[in-house]
Symmetry: C2
Subunit: 333 residues, 2 copies
C-alpha cells in the first residue's frame, strides 16, 4: 500500500505502534513522547522540550513566491511555534540544511539573516547543524527549550466544560497561500496582510508562556487548520467538542477578499501558527487582557464518545443548528 | 558565487561568522556551539548534548544498493556516532522523514525496523518527529544525550605531544562505496564485509564513554575521512600533526581487494564512523585492552603553525620521509 493511501496520520499511527511494541517509546525521565507538539523530559528536575520540523521546496514553499529571508524566518518560526504550543521558552537551535550546489551563497546568507533575525527576537542561540547537498532545498530545524515553570501545555489536558479559544485570525495564512496559488489580485495593503500571514508567521511564545502562568493546561498550535488541530486536542484528551461557527473570528480582509468562502478557510486553512487552547472562561477572559494578540472563544469541550470511539466535532450555525463543511483540515498525503 | 565554489566548509565559515556577529551563537548554559560533533549545554548542572544529521536520496544513498532496513539503521547510526565522538550517552531521538507519496508503507515500516533495532541496542527512545511529503526520501535525525560524567570529548582538546589513535579499520566504508559505485566483483565474504562497513556502521558509543572515563579529552568521529577529520581536530585545537603512513591500519580485505590504492582509501575515505582521538600513549595502550574494537596509534600531535596559520599535516612514509597523497578527505560540495 502506498503512503498516499495510508495517509499522514495513518502512517504515523502505524509507526507509533511499532515503536511502542518494541518498547523504544520510553526512557528514563521522559514525560511526553510522540503525539504532542514537543517531546518533553526531565533533566535534574528541570523540564526540557524538543521539536523538529522541516520546510521542503515544492511542498512547503516555492522560491518564486517566498524570499530567502522570509524562508529563513518561517523555517525557524514553525519550530518555535511548537515550543509556544507547550508554553515553553526556546533556548537552542540546530539547523539541518540541504541544498543544490548551484545555489547562490548570497541566497543562503539571506536565508540565515531571516533565521538570525528571529533568533535574536526570541533570544535563542544557533548552536549547531549540518549542511548537505541535495537536488532541492530543504530546511529542517530542531529547537530545544525549557519550561517556564513546573508546568507545560499539553494536547491531552482538555476537559469537558472547558471553553475553547484561539489567538489571532485563523485562515489568514491560507488566504495568503490561495492568493499565491490562484494568482489573486488584491489591493497592495491587503496583499501585504496575506503575504505576512502566510510567509512571516509570528510564533506565539510569550502568549504560550502567559497561558501556562495563568494555569491553562491544554493547547496546540494551529498548523494543520483550526478543525484539524482541534481534533488533535480532542483525540489526545479523549473528549468531544461543540463549535459555534458564528463565534469563529474571521478577519475583515479575509471576508472582504474571499466572501462566502472566508468561514471555510478560517476553519480549515493551515499554517497560521497561532494558539488554540482550552480552559475556564473567566481565566481566558483574564488572559485576553494580558495579550496583545486577539483572543476569541469559539466553543466548548464536551464529553468524549462512549467507549473511546472517534471524537465528535459538532459545528453549530448562528441559530445553534448543525452546520456542515467540506474540508476538515490539511494533511501531507 | 555558487555554493559549489564556496565549498561546504567555506559556507559553514561564512554562516558561522554571521551567527557570531549577530550574537546568536551564545546562550545561558551553552558550553559548545557550532564547530564540534554535538552542541553541549548545562542543564541544572548536568551536561546535555544534541546533534542532527541527515541522509538524502541520491546524495548519501541510492535505494538500489541499500535496503530500507539498512537505511533506517545507518540514518540513526551516523547521529549516535556524533554522541559517541563526545563520549556521551544518547537518550532521545527525533525523526524527521520526508518521502514521496508513492512510497510503499511497508518500506517505511522496514526503515523504522532498522532504526528501532539500533534504538533498542543503544537504549535510546524515539520521542517525536515529523513526516512530510517530498520528491525524494530524506531522513534527518536529532539525538539528544547527556555526558557520562562531568567530562566530554572535544575536537579542541588535542595538545602537542599527544599520540593520535583510531578505532576500527579506516577506509572500509569507502571500500564498500567503491564496490557499489564501480560494480566491483568480490568474493561473497569480502562483499559482505564491505557492505556492512558502508551500510551498517556501528556507532562507537561504549568506546567513547570508555575514552572519557580514562581521561581522554580530544576526539572526533571519522565521518569525512581520516585526514579530513584529523584536520578538524587540528584546526579546533590550533595544533599540527605528523602521521606515519606505515602505522595506518589497513584491513587485510582492503589490501587484498584494492591493492596499492588501499592506503589512500584508508587515509581519505569517509563514513567509517569510528573514533579518532588523541592522548597520552600509556593511557591509549591501557584503553586498547578495554575495547573490543582494534585501536591503532597512527602519529602524534605537534605544535601549531606560528601566528595561527593553517594547520600542517605531515605524512611520513616508512622511512620517515615526507609522503604525498592526492585526496585529503570528502566534502559535500
Amino acid at each position: 500500500m502506498k503512503v498516499s493511501e495510508t495517509g499522514e496520520f495513518g502512517l504515523i499511527d502505524r509507526l507509533q505502534k511499532m515503536i511502542m511494541d518494541a518498547g523504544v517509546d520510553r526512557a528514563k525521565g521522559l514525560l511526553i513522547g510522540i503525539g504532542d507538539d514537543c517531546a518533553v523530559w526531565k533533566c535534574s528536575g528541570k523540564i526540557q522540550l524538543a521539536t523538529v520540523d522541516s520546510m521542503v521546496e515544492g511542498v512547503h514553499f516555492t522560491l518564486d513566491t517566498i524570499t530567502w529571508r522570509e524562508l529563513g524566518w518561517k523555517s525557524l518560526a514553525i519550530n518555535l511555534s511548537d515550543i509556544a504550543a507547550m508554553g515553553g521558552v526556546p533556548r537552542y537551535i540546530l539547523i539541518n540544511l540541504a541544498l543544490p550546489d548551484v545555489t547562490e551563497t548570497e541566497d543562503i546568507e539571506e536565508l540565515y539573516r531571516g533565521m538570525i533575525e528571529l533568533a535574536q527576537q526570541s533570544k535563542t542561540a544557533i548552536v549547531g547543524g549540518n549542511i548537505s547537498r541535495a537536488p532541492l532545498v530543504s530546511i529542517t530545524i530542531t529547537v530545544i527549550g525549557e519550561s517556564v515553570n513546573e508546568h507545560i501545555l499539553k494536547r491531552s489536558a482538555a476537559r469537558p466544560g472547558d471553553a475553547i479559544a484561539v489567538t489571532g485570525w485563523p485562515g489568514s495564512a491560507a488566504g495568503g497561500l490561495a492568493m499565491f496559488m490562484q494568482k489573486l489580485k488584491f489591493t497592495k495593503e491587503d496583499a501585504t496582510y496575506f503575504r505576512n500571514a502566510f510567509l512571516h508567521p509570528v510564533p506565539r511564545l510569550e502568549e504560550g508562556q502567559i497561558l501556562v502562568k495563568n494555569g491553562i493546561a491544554a493547547a496546540i498550535d494551529t498548523s494543520d487548520g483550526l478543525i484539524s488541530d482541534l481534533r488533535h486536542i480532542c483525540e489526545a484528551s479523549k473528549v468531544s467538542t461543540r463549535i459555534n461557527i458564528a463565534d469563529i473570528p474571521v478577519h475583515e480582509l479575509l471576508k472582504k477578499n474571499f466572501k462566502d468562502k472566508a468561514i471555510e478557510i478560517a476553519l480549515s486553512g493551515g499554517e497560521d501558527y497561532n494558539l488554540l487552547f482550552t480552559g475556564n472562561t473567566d481565566i481566558i477572559n483574564k488572559i485576553k487582557k494580558q495579550l496583545d494578540v486577539p483572543v476569541h472563544i469559539i466553543g466548548e469541550i464536551t464529553t468524549g464518545a462512549p467507549g473511546g470511539d472517534a471524537v465528535k466535532i459538532d459545528l453549530l450555525d448562528g441559530a445553534s443548528k448543525p452546520a456542515k463543511l467540506n474540508k476538515t483540515g490539511w494533511t501531507h498525503f
